[in-house]
């Protein structure tokens, strides 16, 4: 799995479209957030917006690319080979989606650098160990959520469009640019299901030091396991159905 992750990370990090999403999405939304929030009295809002716009880039790439990961392999004629391999298929797909999410480090770097250089918004890191732990924990959890999406949408011909549907809703409900408290009350429990909520909380808490980030990191790891189990079960169900009917290669 580690080798698979490394290969896919190198491959995906050379995709110009992915790099656009990761580098320019945070720039666009950090710019908008800066001009909207700079009149506020809370200077930490801008720092949190820098983290939030980075997470937006990671989620944007994960939701679209991971949902379409299986469809892409199918179009390339690789899906049957991957399914026929002796390695469990979930162990083939998971490194792909985690690699896609891991390329999101470009998004984090771009957002923090951009807001520091252009807007003078420095991100103070109050708890360095927690922040260093929060980044990979968030990426891992979001990557596994992408694994779950990829498994769930394997039957869709236009899986990328279905995955793309989750882009703006997750940006909205997970508190990436706006506090969840301003949303209707019923949305908060829904946001708990999504890894970006906890990843954002972990990185923000570690950076701004308002609360301990370790409980958010723990939730990220717990969600990673939950997504992995759910995704593996879904994959097993769909693959068995496809193998029984001989429809694995059909779109």
């Amino acid at each position: 799995m580690a080798k698979g992750w490394a290969i896919h990370f190198k491959q995906e990090s050379r995709n110009p479209f992915f790099l656009w999403i990761l580098i320019c999405t945070p720039i666009i939304y950090a710019t908008i957030a800066y001009f909207l929030f700079r009149g506020g009295k809370d200077g930490q809002t801008l720092a949190a917006a820098a983290i939030g716009s980075a997470m937006m880039g990671i989620w944007s790439l994960t939701t679209t690319a991971s949902a379409a990961a299986l469809a892409q392999r199918r179009r390339a004629g690789l899906l049957e080979l991957l399914v026929a391999a002796p390695v469990p298929f979930w162990a083939v797909l998971a490194p792909i989606t985690i690699a896609i999410s891991a390329v999101g480090v470009y998004s984090i770097g771009a957002s923090l650098l951009y807001t520091r250089l252009l807007f003078g918004v420095a991100l103070p890191i109050e708890d360095w160990p927690a922040f260093v732990a929060a980044v990979p924990a968030s990426i891992l959890a979001i990557g596994m959520l992408g694994f779950l999406l990829g498994a769930a949408f394997v039957r869709f011909r236009a899986a990328w469009a279905v995955g793309n549907l989750f882009e703006f809703p997750v940006w909205t409900i997970c508190g990436l640019l706006i506090p969840i408290a301003v949303l209707p009350a019923w949305i908060e429990p829904v946001s708990w299901v999504f890894a970006p909520t906890w990843g954002m909380n972990a990185m923000r808490d570690a950076a701004l030091g308002e609360q301990s980030a370790w409980d958010d990191i723990a939730v990220c790891l717990g969600l990673t396991v939950a997504y992995c189990v759910a995704g593996a079960l879904l994959l097993r169900f769909f693959l068995r159905s496809a193998l029984r009917r001989g429809t694995l290669a059909l779109t």
Binding site: P16, F17, W20, I21, C24, T25, I27, I28, T31, I32, A33, F35, L36, F37, G39, G40, F156, R157, A158, A161, V162, N164, L165, E167, F168, P169, W171, T172, L177, I178, P179, V182, L183
Partner: protein
């Protein structure tokens, strides 16, 4: 008569051929549901920032989202032909270029207008904004002018797309520029001077301002200057885009690079 047929019939046929993949399961999530969530995101950001009203963000984002069909589709009307290996056949034909390319812009504009209006109506109903009944038709007219100007901007993208390998990146860059610079979410007067200068020559800037004034009760006569400026910007971009495409055609014929991906 031939030019008219190429413009109308040819444009419609090419749109159906290039965008046949826009089945309901792709069209509805991408073109109808996504803009609603974009509106909701910025409405809540706006409420959090306490800078402008909900109506400001609904109108700004509904109109701005027309950039997705107007830019992506316009770029793909040319790049898509190259992808399908039919661009050479089109350009080697004796068909007049002006109706050929402008005819492809009309279905794009109609689609962009429909999406913007849908987003405006549904987003407005969900958020709960109040627009006077007498302002609805003028608001739709302002939206139509915006989709015209953005389609002209998309024609530039189509010309540039002939010279680039990855047109999706170009389309996304143009979309991002419009999201930041046109006042869709950030009031123009909040931007620094150099950004305001860029805003003044981009599509949507004047049209969105006109749409907001109409929603506040202004008549079409009151905003005719803004709409005329918006339309003029569209004409200029369309002319530049057409020149780009013709120049790219000449260069590609000279260097035999037409079908190179």
């Amino acid at each position: 008569m031939t030019a008219l047929r190429i413009f109308a019939v040819g444009g419609l046929i090419s749109f159906r051929a290039l965008f046949s993949f826009l089945r309901p399961e792709i069209y509805i999530p991408s073109m109808l549901v996504a803009p609603i969530f974009q509106i909701l995101l910025f409405v809540y950001i706006g409420r959090s920032a306490s800078l402008e009203s909900d109506e400001f963000y609904v109108i700004g984002n509904a109109v701005q989202y027309a950039a997705v069909p107007c830019l992506f589709a316009m770029i793909f009307t040319v790049a898509g032909e190259r992808f399908q290996k039919t661009l050479g056949y089109i350009l080697v034909s004796p068909a007049a270029r002006l109706p050929l390319f402008l005819g492809r812009a009309v279905p794009v504009m109609v689609n962009g207008f429909f999406i913007a209006v849908f987003s405006l109506v549904v987003g407005g109903l969900i958020v709960g904004i109040d627009i006077p009944a007498g302002s609805v038709a003028p608001l739709f007219f302002a939206t139509a002018v915006c989709t015209f100007s953005c389609t002209g901007f998309g024609l530039i993208g189509a010309g540039l797309g002939l010279l680039m390998r990855d047109q999706a990146v170009l389309a996304n860059i143009m979309f991002g520029i419009l999201l930041v610079f046109t006042g869709a979410n950030v009031p123009i007067d909040q931007l620094p001077g150099w950004m305001q200068t860029i805003s003044s020559v981009l599509p949507f800037t004047h049209g969105i301002e006109a749409a907001r004034e109409i929603a506040d009760g202004a008549s079409l006569a009151d905003v005719r200057g803004l709409l005329a400026t918006e339309a003029a910007i569209g004409v200029v971009y369309a002319a530049i885009g057409y020149a780009f495409i013709r120049n790219a055609e000449r260069l590609s014929l000279r260097h035999a690079t037409l079908d190179r991906n």
